[in-house]
Symmetry: C2
Subunit: 270 residues, 2 copies
């Protein structure tokens, strides 16, 4: 379950500790970290001190507990603005959720896991940080499978290795073989479905966001409940999702390579 990072150098180890702290969903004591970290007491202690003094961890002397620090928010804000699809996708996501009247997710892949970078909830129209940054499994979510399906061989193999295959519901795909079959079907169909594989009663249709060259940038999805919609209904929305995904891909490319179209124009003119 815990992604085994190579942990290159001191910096890698420090980040490993940071991850560990973040993984506890609560302030955590020294000894709790010590047992799970594999570091000797003194070493772990020094790491915690360094990270705290740097502000990426915060320490509560009162309780002697560590928690992720606010400095991370600042860094993440920069990451979100620069490296995520969210800024360019924002208007499209807005439009989708307004048109469809269901929850829309925008996700990217991070180390074999689904990382939600934006969300619109039609019912409660407050999209929150509490969603951006959230992670989930790839093998049993619509966005996850949509992205996995279109990774190229090597990347896909690596990503499949990182899946836990925990059976959340009876419909959860049980192993890599089943997932591979599903991914083939998804490539054929062009879109992915979540048939209550992660949460009972929750279904979803998702499309990958692909560069013209076919590289996976992310995925968009509509989520609903079996109470409100059928799978076929969601599937019928695929074309709408596709249009949004393609628009996002096009803008993302234009945004990342702002002078490429100039170059192309020149090439065309020449």
């Amino acid at each position: 379950m815990t992604a085994q990072r190579p942990a290159d150098g001191t910096v890698g180890k420090a980040l490993q500790v940071l991850d560990q702290v973040a993984a506890f969903g609560r302030p955590v004591r020294f000894s709790e970290l010590l047992s799970g970290s594999g570091f000797p007491k003194a070493t772990l202690y020094r790491f915690l001190q360094t990270l705290t003094s740097q502000g990426v961890l915060s320490y509560e002397p009162e309780r002697q507990t560590y928690a992720p620090g606010l400095r991370l928010l600042r860094l993440a804000h920069a990451a979100w603005r620069q490296s995520s699809l969210a800024p360019v996708a924002r208007p499209h996501i807005d439009r989708l959720s307004a048109e469809i009247g269901e929850t829309v997710h925008l996700a990217q892949l991070d180390n074999g896991q689904v990382l939600y970078v934006d969300k619109r909830n039609a019912a409660a129209p407050i999209a929150m940080y509490s969603e951006a940054g959230k992670v989930g499994p790839a093998y049993c979510t619509g966005v996850g499978k949509a992205m996995l399906a279109f990774l190229d061989g090597a990347e896909r193999a690596r990503a499949l290795d990182q899946q836990a295959f925990h059976r959340f519901t009876p419909a959860t795909l049980p192993d890599a073989a089943a997932l591979e079959r599903e991914l083939t079907a998804i490539r054929a169909r062009g879109h992915a479905l979540d048939r209550e594989e992660h949460e009972p009663g929750i279904i979803c249709a998702a499309l990958p966001i692909l560069t013209p060259g076919g590289r996976v940038l992310g995925a968009v999805s509509v989520t609903s409940s079996t109470a409100r919609r059928g799978l076929e209904e969601l599937e019928r929305l695929a074309p709408v999702l596709r249009r949004a995904a393609e628009a996002i891909a096009a803008e993302a490319e234009a945004w990342r390579f702002p002078d490429d179209d100039d170059a192309m124009r020149e090439a065309g003119a020449a």
Copy 2:
């Protein structure tokens, strides 16, 4: 302007590089970092490689540029949920913005800067990651001054040192002395005002969020424009803000020390 971190150890230096990358609001080339970093080429290069391999930076081979990586989002999400006031303050912020019909900010202090951890915009009701994590100056914003005013001596001195005192508008306080005078007034009044000190036409009233012991946790503010409201109007909202701030403080304490009331109850009963 650039906060001089002590940069303890290798980890500190690596984080310094990370900060530097994040500070450029765009993908950045090796050489751009090299000039501003103070590290020798080889050293910086190794840092960038390590950080990239760890996923806290992302590298675009195409363009040879670095940008903050998505792994930061996951970490920040944890920080936001655990270490920020946002989760406990959320309902209060919601209520405030609904009642008042203006933009409400929730901020905390991070290394002498204001860090916005949540926001409700009455007009466009989508609170976004793009706001949580944003940083701003402390010496010329309502929330900033509200927090500075109630820091204790040593902390305040340190924070004042970190202020840039850039004159954004004619009303911006020009130096530490003027700010200190203003902070004294704020302590007397109990609330802070931003009289177009950061942006022309933008005014705001803010209250600190204080523990029963008087420690600064954060601040809440209402922001409006001179076109829509007068300062006096905003000032009249201070009691409403105060109630919210006090409620947030109370809940934050209860949340951080979940068994303290048990302990007290026992103490009382004994």
